[in-house]
Symmetry: D4
Subunit: 232 residues, 8 copies
């Protein structure tokens, strides 16, 4: 196994061979100079780069050097795609066949940024995604109206802040795994998402596992792992 020594970083160039997934960059907090070098190194090696939690300023800095850079304000994903990819359209890299698919659900509108991070991550890794937003448990008829889409998915990502009850309700409706993502949406005793995390970890429903608060990327990654097992 090997890696690329960059002094301030050791790029895990063995990762794709070992795990089937390319390196993804967590942009938040990385100094500009380091981030730029990493983007350039990966672009040179793979012809494309995918980063999460990027700011507009980071996008502009990368864009100046790598013109293929694209930024989505909602999900804060900063991609660099090759010219060929752009011409072919971004849908090509995503599986659009009839089955299987990942359902990405949110309790409210404010959870959508985390949901888009999850959904676009899974799509980048080649999975098909169905989005079901704003189906929180305080109006049950909304989630029930989507029951069939949920039950058809190979796995569901349930994203909610505040009290985070969405995961338990979905867990009771489906037969496939539910990946629960607590979000920092809320105030007061929500403690930046800790309350929702505890709700999901203590769920009375079966089939629920949990990732870190606001970790849409992590949920999209695991969902893709499951999608690949379901597909093959």
């Amino acid at each position: 196994m090997k890696y690329e020594e960059m002094n301030f970083a050791k790029l895990d160039t063995d990762r794709e061979a070992r795990t089937g997934f390319p390196e993804v960059i967590f942009c938040e907090g990385k100094p500009d100079e380091y981030l730029l070098q990493i983007y350039k190194k990966l672009y040179e090696k793979d012809g494309r780069v995918f980063g999460t939690r990027a700011s507009v300023e980071q996008y502009e800095m990368i864009k100046a050097e790598l013109p293929g850079a694209e930024y989505d304000k909602v999900s804060r994903i900063l991609k660099v795609v090759s010219v060929n990819d752009v011409e072919a359209g971004s849908t090509e890299e995503t599986d659009t066949g009839a089955a299987p698919y990942i359902a990405v659900c949110t309790g409210g509108t404010a959870d959508i940024p985390v949901a888009e991070e999850a959904a676009q991550t899974a799509e980048y890794f080649g999975a098909r995604v169905e989005r079901i937003y704003d189906v929180g448990v305080s109006g049950l008829h909304r989630i029930i109206s989507k029951k069939e889409v949920l039950q058809g998915a190979c796995c569901t990502i349930a994203i909610a802040g505040m009290e985070g009850a969405l995961a338990s309700v979905i867990g009771g409706l489906v037969s496939n795994p539910v990946i629960a993502v607590p979000t920092s949406v809320g105030y007061g005793a929500s403690f930046g998402g800790m309350s929702a995390l505890l709700t999901m970890i203590n769920s009375c429903a079966n089939g629920i596992t949990v990732v870190n608060i606001d970790n849409g990327y992590g949920a999209g990654y695991v969902a893709t792992q499951i999608y690949r097992l379901a597909k093959n």
Copy 2:
């Protein structure tokens, strides 16, 4: 305003006049001698006594001196009723009219002791109660099958441990207040009920207020206050 000085306690004999509710005894942890004196003093004054969180040993000690003592193992309520009450039957003190009523719901079977503390407290104070047990959110068809009973209640007591999502789901179905009671049922990161408490405090549904972990008595008290307002 006045009280009865007992050295180790000041019985709030003014309470019923001031609040409309008689004194109730929290038995847990009270030394035997003190507890007995309090039961005797209240029985002498009112002809009946109602205590919560009592042990079998406390029941036997009280029973030896006050033969009208009755103990319910599930709710741990230790009552003393007068001879007249016993002859007339305990149902007489409870309102059995068509309306209004309090709905008492639990997420699981293990929450029933807290539910019975709540239900019997409300009944002792003269309210009518409907019990709906084991309707946790992981099998939504159970709670949905009870929707009409819930919607007819003047208020609902929602009792749940683990992740405590029951309150939010009920809150979305009804138009009257929901009193949420977190329970200490659970393990691991349930932290003795703190996780359920946080869930309920952060509920995305409207109309939900919360009492302390396992505080069935407190929920029954408030529900009776609301019942009385609804009745008059």
Copy 3:
């Protein structure tokens, strides 16, 4: 049951029929574009909109499109009222009859923003409110001088930060329910209101239930539910 699909949101248009309360918007953190669309959709449907936790910037954005928008800096409520409402005066939508009424109390001056959110929410839903501000327990004569107003209320909203003892003292004085609202007022070990929340949850007084930190809206909602039961 039904809802209005807006892609980023599913407006619960069934809510008023199901619960007797119109949809209310939690403005904080909603992207401008989403917030504007929701305000416009609700205004179109109902002729009025009521939002909480709005900023001055959000008010100006909404005002530019919906001239009936009104903003209260203290409570941070952003309403849109129809032309007819404005002409008739805002008092018309509030019940001003002799009885019943909701008492809204604060421990200190700094709790007033939460109190106004609670009071104006209840008034928007048609309830009558009496305000009693700055009656914290460190100067008992202040709250005692208001005892009769408190005892006449169908329910009391007790709002306090720091140590939050106000709810227990009021609970001992009245016979109707007390809805306790911890606030984030304080410093050091107040932990953003968690200390006051724990005080209120552990209250030795009866008849007290608790909502989330700074949740004036939630308290006003439940108080209105109780007010309606008391009124009918």
Copy 4:
């Protein structure tokens, strides 16, 4: 959808049709009388019962009425199997084909009870399991010697107490999902497993999701969901 009303419980008899998994009983804390009725009702309906977190006393009580009861002291699983199952041998209900399989790993010897709950749950639901015990990160050569078994699994259950670093190390070695189970093994600042839970939730490795402390059953359930997707 339907359920069986037992007063103290509503058996979710619709569950197997809805989710593909039979009802499993969480025995801990259930009163003897309730537990016995539930075991009898399920045995009558399905011809077999599976319960977790059972005590020796509960086993003896069930055994007296249902002679097919079997108890495993390590995992605390209390099964009732039909006569036919016993004759055929317990291996028959488990998939022994070449692939796929679930890897169940522990950091230490003290984590084995949770691991056996997970492994036997998965086996009960028909999955094939490989056990890899005592491969904690303080002696890396142990886990590295098992790398190939790990990489061949459709998913891995990583079980560890104390600092819970096992999940991150495994996550870096495999391409399929890792279900992390924190255990309450440890002392001092391990806080009954909370430290390990936080480690796993914050893992720098990809592909890791987390269940509640000591929740071997939950991990075995999700692993089986993934196993079924991988198998089909």
Copy 5:
């Protein structure tokens, strides 16, 4: 400055000269052999010993060797007094003059053990004490009826569990210092007294300082320091 070396302990024999207070033994958790040696050494040196948090078993062990041992079950104080003290009566060591005095108050009956530890500690150190028990804030007329006794004290010890609001109310009534003692009385979210501790630390009243949960001894010590300053 000097101390007595006992291998397992270094008795601070300089303490009385340095601080004006004799050494007091915290008995809980001390091995029998060590405790006995310490009691004997101090008795030999001073002719009397005072220990807190003692068990009945410890009392019996000490009594067998030091016949002057006396034990109070409520406060769990284990004293050894000299023959002369016994003959003279225990009141002699306590100041019974008209002024000043320490007021020791509790919120409820269950707080009395902590109150007696505080009161008897102060009396052992020579101060005069007035006891005011069961004056919790949910029945304000009780504490108000004792206002004059409180206002006459040179300092007040306010002892309460659950929400611990007693200290704030007393702080508003008096001009001298209030030493607040949170107790572990309570359940659920009282967290073994942490909730009461936070209430008292965040008190909106002036003149309040706080000691550890259930630390009656510490409160009695400080109160005596203040008493001595007030007396001289």
Copy 6:
């Protein structure tokens, strides 16, 4: 007892008669308009005003209307003194006699703002103060060199952040009360002062009581109460 009703506040004009201390204003977070009215009302009534936690902006606003306003940047105290006071010099209001006095100590330089709030509060209330700064326990010779000043004080205010060990060390050296003030100085696991608060609450030394994090005012208030008892 009486108060001055100001709508948004009820000035406790009875306070000085009841407690011997004038009203003090906590400025932080008070809206400008409210703050100004309170300052003006108190100045009108008493001829002087004392406020804590004031900002430079608040000072400038008050100064514009009340020219006698004075602001100390370190302690953030905002006083208004009458013309007579200014002429007479601020030392006149402070007791400069030989005895008694309050010792105000800090562990480090960064704790000085809290210390000055404490010291100037005590001086405003008429007490004499000795300042001993930067005597943290990591260089014991510094505190030991001040032992005599400490032992001569009627009480000591011990102010420290980080691990807060200063209070225990002082507690072992003196015979009079120690008021411990944890500060928010520190980083990482100091949790905004909570670590220091816990250190002080758990102190193994006698005679220590604790106030809220950074609560210099509260410590100065209690110290003055003790000073007055010692003086009379």
Copy 7:
């Protein structure tokens, strides 16, 4: 690198070669059968075994099979030594030369069990130890009287519960590393040693590092690592 596979455990037989330290057994919570097999296997391999946190019952079980077993009630260490070791006397395995040595200090008598676990662990690994017990900071003259012994040590283990200030004071007196061990000694807000741990982690003194609560073994291990570096 290699290990011994025992099914329930993988003995790290490579450890001594890799780290210079033999395997040590953490006995607490290990099932009897597993513990016995591990002791026998290690005794067979190395001729001696060293285990920590053992109970009397475990000692008796091991003793029955391995007659060389020795148990120390205070430290709870369960050793098996070979016949030759016993004849030669236990002092032989410990370095008794003039220098260097490890100082093991405690704040109080109740911390001695943790101190003995640390001291005997270091001695088992061949280091020389000096014990200094009951030198808590509330009587500074005790620790100061031992200053020279402390300053001569190559490293110091500072063991304290309650507020744990001992480490900071020692850190200020010596030039070599201080290993701080918080203990679970205390009550109330000591939170089982968490308060002392936070004190030590936030120490204002230099040269202090911290191990887990009550982890005498871990401290003895690191101290020996440093001792070996100092000796060579």
Copy 8:
């Protein structure tokens, strides 16, 4: 022992004689005027000054008065070196001999600022350092490729945020002490580094001790203490 009194600070001029280490300044939060005086006083006394956690603004202020000031943006260290030092080159003050050396490792790129604070502190105190960055456990081959450098070090500083597993893995590979530094790198349930701190404190590996979150300075200090013992 002596110190230099500066009113707002007592410079511990005795420190170097007592501990072998010169005074180091923690710059963060120190008012400009105080900081400048301290830098000038130390420069005058020692001819060089070393400060941590400095801002660019503080650097510019110091530079204006002490032209020898140097600032490193990554580590935030603000040094003043004498003219002679500058001419001789900064490497001269660092030991560059063959052995021993300190290994400084990080889990990721974002931990480098803390690592540089540690490394440059140790170098300032005269130790030799080897840097090994970005060797987190999710790609084990990176750390394993550096095994020999780690095993050659006299001690290792292991710096990691998020789940902090790096320390345990290194602890299993080396025979010398590991000083673990949790960092605040992470989000969600990392709680500003508390999660990594708990991981490290609970490590299953031997030889690990922990310092405060982000405390690179403290780790560099202790590592130098060990380096000196190893060197002599």
